[in-house]
């Protein structure tokens, strides 16, 4: 047990302390003359920087939209794929497949093969029914990113919620049906309450991953046009590895860590309740 704890501790503490340390420093890799203690300057610049506030807003929109889409459809699909129908197992496997596709592949397949206004499938479909094809990434950049990320995470929500639906007590539903509860009533008064805990777990896990969506933005829009799709993760990346502003990027990193920790706190608590040692 000791070696694992030690390496994890090092992995956890060393970068964390360094991030905190850098965030109080004037430190730019291309300008070695700016050094020294910056106090809270990096944070002041960051918090008054309109780009930062916009990136926070984009992050929240991205996380919120993907959560709503994946959890709502995930729940409905979990109930659907719990119904018996021919070929159900194959259909399930097809439906959860997107989760195993690497992010750079999903992003580029969507961007080029599907959403490209001239060569993409969507454009071709629009032309067939006599409509103007939409240039998705130019006109609705954030919505396009949301679509891709939702496609990747819907299978995750579906998979986990399906596991929970399957553990639903059969007799309870039978009893409800005997009492004359319709399909809708059963869904709202039995299935949904049963799923509430699982839904909260899905929401928290997804939030932690979605707060730092990066590859999808990196290969499709590079944060643009302008800063239309610059979320917090991409802003920090740009500050750090494009502008080499270590201090500023680290201050952003601290903000990201704090945000994730708020969510993590609740997640760890809800998992702790189930843990038996």
């Amino acid at each position: 047990m000791v070696p694992s704890v030690v390496v994890l501790l090092a992995w956890m503490i060393v970068p964390l302390v360094m991030t905190l340390w850098f965030s109080f420093q004037r430190y730019n890799l291309i300008d070695p003359t700016t050094t020294g203690f910056a106090g809270l300057d990096n944070y002041r610049y960051l918090l008054t920087d309109p780009d930062f506030l916009i990136s926070l807003e984009k992050t929240l929109i991205l996380v919120g939209s993907v959560l709503i889409i994946t959890v709502c459809f995930g729940t409905l699909l979990a109930v659907l794929f719990n119904q018996p129908f021919p070929g159900r197992n194959i259909a399930r496997v097809l439906a959860i497949s997107p989760f195993f596709v690497m992010p750079t592949v999903s992003a580029l397949v969507w961007k080029n093969l599907l959403m490209h206004p001239i060569y993409g499938v969507f454009g071709a479909m629009a032309r067939t029914i006599g409509m103007q094809p939409v240039d998705w990434f130019a006109d609705y950049p954030l919505a396009s990113v949301i679509a891709i990320v939702s496609w990747e995470w819907l299978p995750f929500a579906l998979l986990i919620l399906l596991t929970a639906v399957q553990s639903l007590d059969h007799e309870q539903r039978e009893a409800a049906r005997m009492d004359g509860a319709g399909a809708l009533a059963q869904f709202f008064f039995i299935t949904l309450p049963h799923l509430s805990r699982t839904i909260s777990v899905v929401v928290m896990i997804e939030t932690i991953f979605l707060l730092t969506v990066f590859a999808e933005i990196f290969v499709t829009t590079s944060g643009g046009p302008g800063n239309a799709t610059t979320n917090l993760a991409f802003l920090i990346y740009a500050r750090a590895l494009l502008q080499f502003d270590i201090g500023g990027a680290s201050a952003g990193g601290v903000v990201a860590i704090v945000l994730a920790n708020v969510v993590a706190f609740f997640l760890v608590r809800s998992i702790a309740r189930r843990l038996e040692v």
């Binding site: 047990m1 439906a95 497949s97 071709a124």
Partner: protein, 271 residues
């Protein structure tokens, strides 16, 4: 519950409709990979299939390098993490102390650290240590990244092994090491295998560290695919061929490890 015939038909139609819709981008990618570059830009279903793009992708000799990097880094990260995780999970499952619970939860919490928050220090450390664009650097990152999940999964598998079996082994004079190797490992082999599989999938698809810490020498497939994003790189068929090859093995693994995935990714909160 007996479904009426109408409900059955509805479930079949909607179920298959949704499944095919969600799978469509992947199917389309595979389809496009068999088109010639000229056919690839027009969304027709009628074309003469060709392996041209696969040839072209392989002809770029570096494709093999990228694929090899992916394999080495994913396997390396998984094996390294298992080496650390097996003793840890063993200790916590069979010799719990009052700190075990806290340690487990703390390990879980390390997984919540957003990678972007520590991008800067890791980048600087790697730069100083000369680990940028090196396979061993990524192996370490991936091992650490997945260590909490692996420890958790192994812990839940070990918990199901009755302590008496191990005690019997100890009576017969087995050391801790041989106890783990000859008793525990064979008993929990399916569990360890599926844990490793999950770790492989996560490493293979990881695209934050691989994009930021590698450039050419150690770049895995995620980074290779990303290089198709440049505006002049609009080669749909080649992109599809490279993507299909990058995704296919992991997709098959994923299909086989669905169950473990649920457990591993939710830290046992959903069973």
């Amino acid at each position: 519950m007996e479904a009426t015939p109408l409900q059955r038909v509805l479930a079949t139609v909607i179920g298959w409709g949704v499944a095919l819709l969600l799978f469509f981008p992947i199917a389309w990618m595979v389809l496009t990979s068999f088109k010639s570059e000229g056919d690839a830009t027009s969304p027709h279903l009628l074309f003469s299939p060709t392996l041209e793009s696969y040839h072209d992708v392989f002809a770029r000799a570096d494709y093999v390098t990228f694929a090899l990097n992916s394999v080495i880094i994913s396997l390396g990260g998984t094996v390294l993490a298992l080496l650390f995780a097996i003793p840890a999970a063993y200790a916590m499952a069979f010799h719990p102390t009052h700190r075990t619970r806290g340690t487990l939860l703390w390990m879980l919490s390390t997984k919540m650290l957003p990678p972007v928050g520590v991008l800067m220090p890791i980048y600087m450390l790697f730069r100083t240590a000369g680990l940028l664009d090196s396979r061993s650097g990524l192996v370490m990152i991936y091992a650490l990244m997945n260590l909490p999940i692996i420890v958790w999964m192994l812990f839940t598998f070990y918990k199901e092994v009755p302590n008496e079996i191990l005690e019997a082994g100890r009576m017969d004079g087995a050391h801790t090491a041989s106890e783990v190797w000859f008793l525990l490992l064979p008993l929990t082999l399916p569990g360890v295998a599926s844990t490793g599989l999950l770790s492989l999938i996560l490493c293979w698809n990881e695209a934050f560290w691989s994009l930021n810490l590698t450039s050419a020498g150690a770049a895995p497939l995620t980074a290779f695919i990303a290089s198709f994003s440049s505006p002049e790189g609009l080669f749909f068929a080649k992109l599809s061929a490279a993507s299909t090859m990058a995704v296919a093995p992991i997709l098959v693994f994923g299909w086989f490890s669905q169950r473990q995935l649920v457990q591993g990714l939710t830290f046992g909160a959903v069973k």
